[in-house]
């Protein structure tokens, strides 16, 4: 029983992380219909920049976060303007941007290695350990949950109460119609690439504080984001959040019965089953 409570707690913490990734990836995917696979390597980039500023140079954590966010946003916007937009203009099949983004992924991932060196990187931060009955959690865990909640509130306010937020909503619903009512869709795409990448950098910093960073972390990150989006239903940010938590809980509770080395396979199997059985996601019924 104690184990279950601990696993549940871990599931919620990991769920926040996955949900954050799902929000970032899903924002880009739902709005632009681009499977931005390089989201993962931008995430890695964000982590290493944050490490460089806060871990290596010793600056305060928030400076590391700011630097990571700025670099990630820059890379996100650059990947849209430099790679996806030219492809979109040529009217290529939607698969082509995905293939191109695989190329971008290995470029960025290896650039991280070249610039910052390989090997695990950690940031020393003061952490405190708290107990909840038989289970424990650290202050970083708390931060993961809190920052996720904060992002949710801000994103909710942005999407529902600002002009460009509504433009994002419109593009998600029907990109062609968005153009018809006079939305400059290229500009909105740039915006969501910036926003989504910023979210990835926040998640990246937090996970670096918790587990440290490695150059291969991006692949898992983008996959988890993608799985969260697919599980929740493409086009629904609420779905991405629910998908992220579901993934976190399933993965964590799975450890109850399955040995740890298989933990990372759980997500892929969930994805596999999800795409085959409910390709429109769990929450797709709420839409059209």
């Amino acid at each position: 029983m104690d184990l279950v409570i601990q696993l549940l707690l871990n599931g919620i913490v990991n769920g926040s992380h996955y949900a954050l990734l799902g929000l970032g990836f899903g924002l880009i995917f739902a709005t632009t219909r681009i499977v931005h696979f390089a989201f993962g390597s931008i995430f890695t980039f964000g982590a290493y920049v944050a490490w460089f500023v806060s871990g290596y140079m010793g600056a305060p954590i928030f400076l590391g976060l700011a630097a990571g966010v700025v670099v990630a946003m820059g890379l996100g916007v650059a990947s849209y303007v430099g790679l996806y937009q030219p492809l979109e203009r040529r009217g290529v099949s939607p698969l082509i941007p995905l293939i191109a983004s695989l190329g971008l992924t290995i470029v960025l991932e290896n650039l991280v290695g070249i610039i910052f060196g390989t090997g695990a990187r950690t940031i020393d931060a003061e952490t405190s350990i708290h107990f909840l009955g038989p289970a424990f959690f650290t202050s970083i865990h708390v931060w993961q949950v809190v920052s996720f909640l904060l992002v949710c509130v801000l994103l909710y306010l942005f999407v529902n109460y600002t002009r460009y937020g509504k433009a994002i909503m419109a593009m998600t619903d029907d990109p062609e119609m968005a153009r018809v009512i006079g939305i400059d869709t290229a500009r909105v795409s740039i915006l969501v690439f910036a926003l989504g990448s910023a979210l990835s950098a926040i998640a990246a910093l937090l996970v670096t504080l918790k587990d440290g960073a490695s150059t291969h972390m991006g692949f898992t990150a983008v996959f988890m984001g993608f799985v969260a989006v697919i599980v929740g239903g493409v086009g629904s940010l609420r779905g991405a959040i629910a998908g992220g938590f579901l993934l976190g809980l399933v993965e964590s509770l799975g450890l109850w019965k399955i040995s740890t080395e298989w933990q990372s396979s759980i997500a892929f199997i969930v994805l596999f089953l999800m795409i085959l059985l409910r390709p429109h996601g769990l929450f797709s019924l709420a839409r059209r």
Binding site: K166, M169, D173, V180, I181, D184, R288
Partner: protein
Amino acid sequence: MTGPILETRGLSAGYGKKKAVQGIDLRLAHGETLLVLGHNGAGKTTLMRAIFGLLKPMSGEVFYDGHAITGRIPARNVAEGIAFVPQGHGIFPSLTVRDNLELGGFVDADTAKKKKRIEEIYGMFPILRDRAGQIAGTFSGGQKQMLAIGMALMHGPRVLILDEPSIGLAPNLVGRVMESIAEIKARFDASVIVVEQNIKYSLPIADRVMVLKTGGVIYEGDPAPLNDHARLVELF
């Protein structure tokens, strides 16, 4: 006598290498209702998309109020007063009616003006007021079409282009939609292009008619002769 508010000269457009319309000269005078008729595949929609900027023309030019707007993105055309209601219910199906209307006025940042406009549109289509919080995708075809027209009016267009507003509607609703088009002209002082296959209801509101067939114009002028059944069958 001023020039036409909207004009195309030798406009050709299509998809891939193929032209769907070729060398079209279209003129829309101030305050006029132009009816564009034609079969499936005649090129009506392609022509309208090319005028509005959703599709890059292959050749030819588009003028709006005397200046060239050829190949401009729709966002700019909308901002300058051209509105387009696409075929098959131009709405956002998973948003509420109110959100849809607000998005219709996206190019206008002025919220007070938007509120006033929404009231005006509610006045024309009271059902939209009653159902303001409903998800638009759950509307019937006729309600969707009213909402789509309402959205297009949100930024106070000077030219309104409607692509087959009657498609999939029951006959009595088609009449209602056509009436509202006449009403819009009176209220908003707009010039209108209506693209239609449905002749019976659309002919009465037309000032002038243009019939397209296989990408070219085969009749242009007065609507009256088309009332003749025999003439119709000949053209179609």
